[in-house]
Symmetry: D2
C-alpha cells in the first residue's frame, strides 16, 4: 500500500513532483506553501488538502517532500521551537530537495535524531519536465536504511537514482555539478558573444562548437537560447548565483583558489544587480553580447 | 594525377599529415623544418627531400602545407625579402594550418596577391591521431575558387571540411573554439579539484558530471587525466595560453569584457610561469587540486 | 540652548559620538539599541534613558542620530507601519550615519516627507577615536536647509564637514572612498605578502613603499599591522565586503566593469567564508602571506 | 678625478641621467643606442662620442650606465659571444638601471665574474625630472664593495640611495613597488570612473579621497590626469604591463595567488591590446570611464 505524501513548497518544481506521485497512485494528503494560494490551487487540482501549519503536514503524511529555495528557507522548516515539520515527527520521513549548503542537511539530521525522524537529502539535477515525467536525476545523501525505505517512492520520480554517501555529500556533489554547469554556461556566453561581435554566423559557430572540444551539455540546452535571447526561466540566474556561491564558499573553506568559479559567480551576481536575476541562466549572454547589457 | 606536395613544419602534427598524404598517393617532394634533423628524418621515411631553403619548397611543390606554432613563425615563412615561401610562388598554392591571430592570414593573403600565389587558412580542430588517419575537422578561410581547387587534397586529410568564410574567418572561429574549450577545461579542473579536496570519489563525480548539465567534451577527453595526473601532451598548456590570449585580445579589440576567458588565460599563463607549459592543458588541474601546485 | 539628542545604535562608534555630544553639553535624552544591555549601560554612563521602542526616541529627542550596520537595519528603523522612528516625527530631525546603498537614504527621505520629518545622511570617513574626539570627516547628503539647521551639532562631531549634494550623494561618495581604500588595502597585502614570500625585510620594504609611487594612506594605517598580524578591529573585513559590494553593485548598475573592485570584494568575502569577517580589514594580508591562510 | 662615463640606452631617462652627470663634471665619453640617431644627437649635445659597438663603450669608459627597456634588451647587452659590453671588461664597472626580472641581474653577475667586471643593479623609483635634477630614488642590489666604489657617482644622481641587498634584490623590490603602484593606479581609475558615471563632481571626489583612507601617492600624480584625460607619457602602460607581469610571475613562482595584481596586469594588457600601450599608465582610466573605451 502506498505511503501518504505531504508536500512543502509547490513552486513549479514541487508541483510537478506532486502531480507525478499522484499519477503513480500515491495519495498526496497535505500541501503547504509559504504563498498560501499556491497550496490551495494545487490541493484543488490533486484532491488534496492545503494546510497553513508545517506541523499539519507532518501529522497527515508518512513521507514529506520539501522543495524550497535556499539555506534559510530549508532550515526554517525544521525549527526547534514554534511551528515546525519536526513537531510530532517521530517515525516520519522527510525528503529535502533544495540545493543548499552541505552544512544545512547535516544540521537538519542532527535535529531529526532528537525527535526520532528520518531525513534524506535528494538533490535533483534536472528540470521541471523531468520532474513531471518522473525522470529526474536524483542524488541522495543519508543513511542506507533511510534510503532503502524511500527507494520505491523515489524511483517513481527518477530515471537515475543514487546514494552518494552520508548526509551532506549530495549537497556537495550538487553544488559541484551546478558550479561546473554555471561556469560552462558563462564560458559559452563569452564564446558566442565574441563570435557575434566579430560578425560570425552564430548558427554555424554553434555547429562547429558541437563538433569540437568546445562541445558541452550547456551548448545543447542554452546555446540557441543565447543566440535568440530566449531566456524563459528553467534555472534562474539568481539560483545560479546562489549555487556558484555555495561552491565558491566550499572552495574557500578548503583553501582552494577557484578563479573561474569566482568569475562565473560574479557574472550571475551582476545579473542580479541588473535586475536580471529571474531570467534563465542562459541570460548571462546578455552580459557578453555587444549592445545588450554593459 | 596527384599534385606534388611540400611541407614546412614537421612536428608531430605536420609529420602525421605528411604521412597521411603520402599514404593517399600524393608525392611529398620537399620537407623543411627550422630544426633540420626533423626534416631529414621524415624525408628519409617518406622518400622525400629535406631542404634548407623555404624557396626550395615552393620550387619543388604545387601545394605547400605549413604547420608552425605561432604568429611570428607563420608570418616568418612569407617574408617579403630574403628566403621566403613566396619566392617564385606564382601559381602555387599554400595551406596554412597554424592557430594564429586573424590578422596574420589577412597579411599573408595581401602578400600572396603581390606574387600571384593562392593561400588558404586551414585550421584543425582535432589532434595527431586524426591527422594521421585523415579524419581532421578542418575549418578553412579564403577564396571560394582556392578552396574548390584544394578540396580534393584537403578531403584526404579530413572527416569534416568546411569553408567558414573569407580569409581570417577560420582563425577567428578556431580561436573561439579553443577559448571555449580552454575555459571548459579550467572549469572542470576546478570542479574536480574541489571534489577531491572535499574527499569525494572522483570517478563517481565524473559519472555524475557526465549525466548532468556539467557534461562537456573536455570531461571525456581530460577528466580522467586530471584525476590520474596523466598529462602527456596532446595540446600543451603553452598552446592553450597562446590561443586563449588570441581570443582575449580579439575581445578587447571589439570592446568586450570576457572575465572567464581572462581567468582561464591566467591559469595557463600560470602554468607557464611554473614551468608546466609543455604538459597537456589537462595539467591545469595541477593548479586546482590541493597539495599539487600553489 | 542645546537640542535634545537621541541615539539609535550604540556600538563602539555610536557610543563614542554620544559621549562626545554629552561632553559638548548636549543632553542625550534617549538611547535605543537592538541589543538592549548596550543601551542600558550607555544610558547609565551618560545619565540618559534607555528605551525599548523606536518611537520613544523620537518622542524624547529633537535630533536623532542613527548608527547601524547595513541597508536592512537602516531601513528597518523607519518602518511605515509598527514601531518606527517616524511615529510622531513631525518637525523632528534624523541624522543617519550608516554606510548604506544610495537608494536607502532616498527611500528614507521619501518616507520622511510623508510624516513631516527632516533627514540628513552623514557618512563618516574616520574611526572611533575621531568620533570620541569630535574630529570626524563628515560627508553629508540632503537638503541645504536641513544641513544648515544641523550644522552646529555636526560641527561638534567633526573636524571636516561638507555637504556633498542632495540625499543619496553622500552614500555614493562614501561607497567610493571605501571601495578605493579597500582595493588599496588588498593591493598592499599582495605587495607585502609577495615581499615576505621572497624573503625581503618587510620593514625595509614598507619604507621603500612610503617613499615611492607605492605610498598610500593604508600603508600608514595598515602596513605594519599586516606585517605583525595585528588585526584588532577598527574597520572589519565584513564591513569592507559590504561596502565594496555596494560600490561594485553601483558599477554594475551604470554598466561599468570594475575588475579590481570585484577582486577586492572577493577577498573580503573570502575572509568572511573563512571566519575572518570580524577582524580588521588589514587581515586581508592573512590571505596573501605564505603559510597564513589558503 | 672623475671617472669616465659611458651610456647605453639614451631614451628620455638615460639622456637625462647623462646630462646630469655631465653637469656634475663627469666626462661622458661614449654613448650607444640601438637607435643610432639618438646616440649621435646626445653625443653632439654633450661633446661625447656616439659609438656603434657595445665593446667600444666598455673600451672608452670606466663606468657604464645601461638604461634599456626589458629582460631581453638588458641581457642582450652582455652577450657571451659577439659584440658585448663584456668584451674587454676586466676591471670595468657596469650600472644597470632597467626594471627587469630578478633572474636577469643574477645571470649578468654570473657572466661578469667570468670576465672580471663589476656589476650593480640600480633601480630607479622616480621619473625623468628627478633623473635630470639628480634626485632619483635609487635602490641598488649587488656587492658591498662595488656599491661603495660607485657611491660617489650614484650620489650625484640621487636624493635617496640605498643598497637593498645582494644582486637580484633590487629588482624584486622594484617589481613590488611598481606592482603596488600599478594596482593603486588601476584602483583609483575605477573609483574616479564610477564617480564620473554616477555624475559626481570629480574635483570634489579627489579632494575627499585625499583626506580619507582612499588617499595615495598615485592620487597626487595621476588623479587629475585621469579626470582631464591628460595621458602624456611619464610611465607607459606598456611598462606597467611588463612590471606587473614580472611581479605576478614572481608570485606564481612562490605559490601565491595575487588576484588584484592579476586584475591590474590584465588592465594594462588590455590597454596594449587597444593600442594604448604608449600612453601613460594614468590612461588606465580610459578603460573605466563610461564612454571612453570598452
Amino acid at each position: 500500500m502506498h505511503e501518504k505524501i505531504g508536500f512543502v513548497g509547490v513552486g513549479r518544481m514541487g508541483a510537478a513532483m506532486a502531480r507525478r506521485l499522484k499519477d503513480c497512485g500515491y495519495p498526496v494528503v497535505a500541501i503547504y506553501d509559504a504563498f498560501a494560494p499556491a497550496a490551495i490551487e494545487l490541493a484543488n487540482e490533486l484532491e488534496s488538502e492545503a494546510v497553513t501549519q508545517l506541523a499539519a503536514v507532518t501529522a497527515a503524511a508518512d513521507v514529506v517532500f520539501t522543495v524550497v529555495t535556499d539555506d534559510a528557507a530549508q532550515l526554517g522548516l525544521y525549527g526547534e521551537t514554534g511551528d515546525s515539520l519536526f513537531v510530532g515527527a517521530d517515525g516520519k520521513y522527510f525528503v529535502n530537495c533544495a540545493t543548499v549548503s552541505p552544512k544545512v542537511p547535516i544540521e537538519i539530521e542532527r535535529r531529526a535524531e532528537l525527535v526520532g525522524a528520518s531525513v534524506l537529502e535528494a538533490c535533483m539535477a534536472s528540470s521541471i519536465p523531468q520532474a513531471r515525467q518522473g525522470t529526474l536525476y536524483l542524488m541522495c545523501g543519508g543513511d542506507d536504511a533511510v534510503f532503502a525505505h524511500l527507494k520505491p517512492v523515489l524511483e517513481k520520480l527518477s530515471a537515475a537514482l543514487r546514494l552518494i554517501g552520508p548526509t551532506g555529500r549530495a549537497a556537495q556533489v550538487k553544488a559541484l555539478v551546478n558550479m561546473v554547469m554555471n561556469m560552462n554556461t558563462a564560458a559559452l556566453a563569452e564564446g558566442l558573444g565574441l563570435g557575434g561581435a566579430l560578425g560570425l554566423d552564430l548558427t554555424m559557430l554553434r555547429e562547429v562548437f558541437a563538433q569540437t572540444g568546445a562541445n558541452s551539455q550547456v551548448l545543447k540546452t542554452d546555446g540557441e537560447d543565447m543566440q535568440k535571447r530566449a531566456h524563459e526561466c528553467f534555472f534562474s540566474a539568481a539560483h545560479a548565483a546562489k549555487d556558484s556561491g555555495i561552491a565558491w564558499t566550499l572552495g574557500c573553506e578548503v583553501g582552494l583558489n577557484l578563479p573561474l568559479a569566482a568569475a562565473a559567480k560574479l557574472q550571475y551576481d551582476r545579473m542580479t544587480a541588473l535586475g536580471l536575476g529571474q531570467i534563465d541562466k542562459s541570460g548571462v549572454a546578455e552580459l557578453t553580447f555587444k549592445g545588450r547589457h554593459g
